[in-house]
């Protein structure tokens, strides 16, 4: 299949999700289930990645700022902006593409191969709406929250690393953190989070939903879904930066 075949089928899948639910209560239940899986299920890895990225960025920024003419609080400013602008949304979402994306692709792929999707279709359920839509909405709800958590913990990790290694005092870090803060950076991070949330949920859903074959094909679909999502995240990252900054 060519890129255009895939893209056309992807758009049709998205279009196919917009129908009236057969039973609102069941859709709500599925949405809550997905929020739990995507949000709570990924919280641990997001916390670990955010803390270490913040800590490492403080150490590396301090390592590169060798001039005595630059105040140490600048380290905090750089850490804050890199975490908010890039690390929290992009790195977190690349990690989530692996964690959430592979789960979505393999779950739907397994349902397709074991005819569970066919069983739902025969009951008269719109499987695109029932299986894919809650995943996308749950991603929209949970991924920006995870990005905000990653941002806060990244900066806190940076502060901890800076203070514990004696690079700068807590007062110096806090001073730098508050100086020259641009509110739009947070809005930009959230715009990125919503864009990446759509990519992380819809692309793996596409590869999982249309898988055919057996266990090997599910594995391939899962890998393709993660790789494609990561590439699309980086591509969207560049486009958003070029357009909005």
């Amino acid at each position: 299949m060519t890129f255009f075949n895939h893209f056309g089928r992807y758009l049709l899948m998205i279009k196919g999700m917009f129908t009236k639910p057969e039973n609102w209560r069941m859709y709500w239940k599925e949405l809550m289930h997905q929020c739990n899986d995507i949000g709570i299920g990924s919280l641990g890895i997001v916390v670990i990645v955010a803390l270490f990225i913040g800590a490492v960025s403080t150490l590396q920024t301090a390592y590169q700022l060798v001039s005595n003419l630059i105040p140490k609080s600048t380290i905090a400013q750089i850490v804050r902006d890199t975490v908010i602008l890039e690390f929290a949304p992009t790195i977190t979402c690349v990690v989530l593409a692996g964690v959430v994306g592979s789960k979505i692709a393999s779950e739907l792929g397994n349902m397709r191969v074991s005819e569970q999707i066919d069983a739902l279709e025969i009951m008269g359920i719109n499987t695109k709406a029932y299986l894919i839509m809650p995943k996308i909405i749950a991603s929209f709800l949970m991924i920006p929250v995870l990005v905000v958590i990653a941002g806060v913990l990244g900066i806190w990790g940076g502060r901890m690393a800076g203070v514990l290694s004696g690079i700068l005092s807590p007062e110096e870090f806090d001073g730098g953190l508050l100086s020259g803060f641009i509110q739009f950076n947070v809005a930009f991070a959230l715009i990125k989070a919503y864009t990446f949330a759509f990519i992380i949920s819809s692309i793996p859903a596409y590869f999982g939903y249309y898988v055919s074959g057996g266990a090997l094909e599910i594995g391939k679909a899962s890998t393709t879904a993660v790789v494609t999502s990561c590439i699309m995240i980086l591509f969207a990252d560049y486009i958003l930066a070029a357009l909005l900054l």
Partner: protein
């Protein structure tokens, strides 16, 4: 009743179903038999709407499924139950939740009413003490029973079974066949069964369609199939020497009686 008129399905340049017409009557077990690749599964998938036919009509009690708008199709599908080859149970749900799923989705029954109905159908398929078990914890035969229970929980008018005996031992196969047959008679359902199983053919084959390379090659009942002179059908059914001998013996006995 399901009436199929000149059904045709093509994949690329390969004709998989070619001009097949048939009538599947209510209260009967309608069996579709044929070698692997003869088009049985595609035929069944066309009937239930998983594949769109390229030509022809499928009439459910006179209503054309092929030309039906989506809303009407959705309603009709609630009258269709299907047992899949691999049972297609939802892995993350217990037996009880699997059977309750169609009730949750399509009815406004209270939880107590739903539970009562679930227990009724599980009892009907002779499955007890399995409500809290997950599909991974039960045997192949039990999975088929859960599949049947889920398929009939909404009291459908039409039941489709795709190779219900695959992967089962002969004894369990007979139990499943008997169960499908009883359910068909009890609820006067139009049941369509795809099978390779010769026991099923002889036990429950009220109406049999033999498919050969996408075409309907032979049609009749289990009483007629033994005496059929159709060579392709005989090659398929009496593939083993044992069965050929059994047929000859039976025909000789029939001749002696006459």
């Amino acid at each position: 009743m399901i009436e199929i008129k000149n059904l045709r399905k093509v994949f690329g340049d390969k004709v998989v179903i070619d001009d097949v017409s048939a009538v599947m009557e209510a209260g009967k077990a309608n069996l579709i038999i044929g070698a692997s690749g003869s088009g049985k599964t595609v035929f069944m998938k066309c009937l239930v709407g998983l594949f769109e036919p390229d030509a022809g009509h499928i009439l459910y009690n006179g209503h054309d499924f092929v030309e039906m708008p989506d809303d009407e199709r959705k309603e009709l599908r609630q009258q269709i139950g299907m047992l899949f080859q691999g049972s297609a149970l939802f892995d993350s749900q217990t037996v009880e939740q699997n059977v309750m799923f169609p009730l949750d989705m399509f009815t406004k029954m209270t939880h107590t009413e739903k539970l009562k109905r679930v227990n009724e159908v599980l009892d009907r398929v002779n499955l007890v003490d399995a409500n809290r078990k997950y599909p991974a914890e039960i045997s192949g035969g039990m999975k088929k029973r859960v599949g049947i229970a889920r398929a009939i929980v909404l009291n459908p008018k039409y039941l489709f079974c795709d190779e219900p005996n695959s992967g089962l031992d002969p004894q369990t196969s007979l139990v499943i066949d008997k169960l499908i047959y009883e359910v068909t008679k009890d609820f006067n359902m139009t049941t369509v069964i795809n099978t390779h199983d010769m026991n099923s053919l002889m036990e429950i084959g009220d109406h049999i369609i033999y498919m050969y390379k996408g075409e309907k090659e032979w049609e009749g009942s289990n009483q007629e199939i033994i005496y059929s002179k159709n060579e392709k059908l005989n090659d398929f059914i009496f593939a083993s020497e044992f069965l050929r001998d059994a047929k000859e013996k039976r025909m000789m006995e029939a001749g002696e009686k006459r």
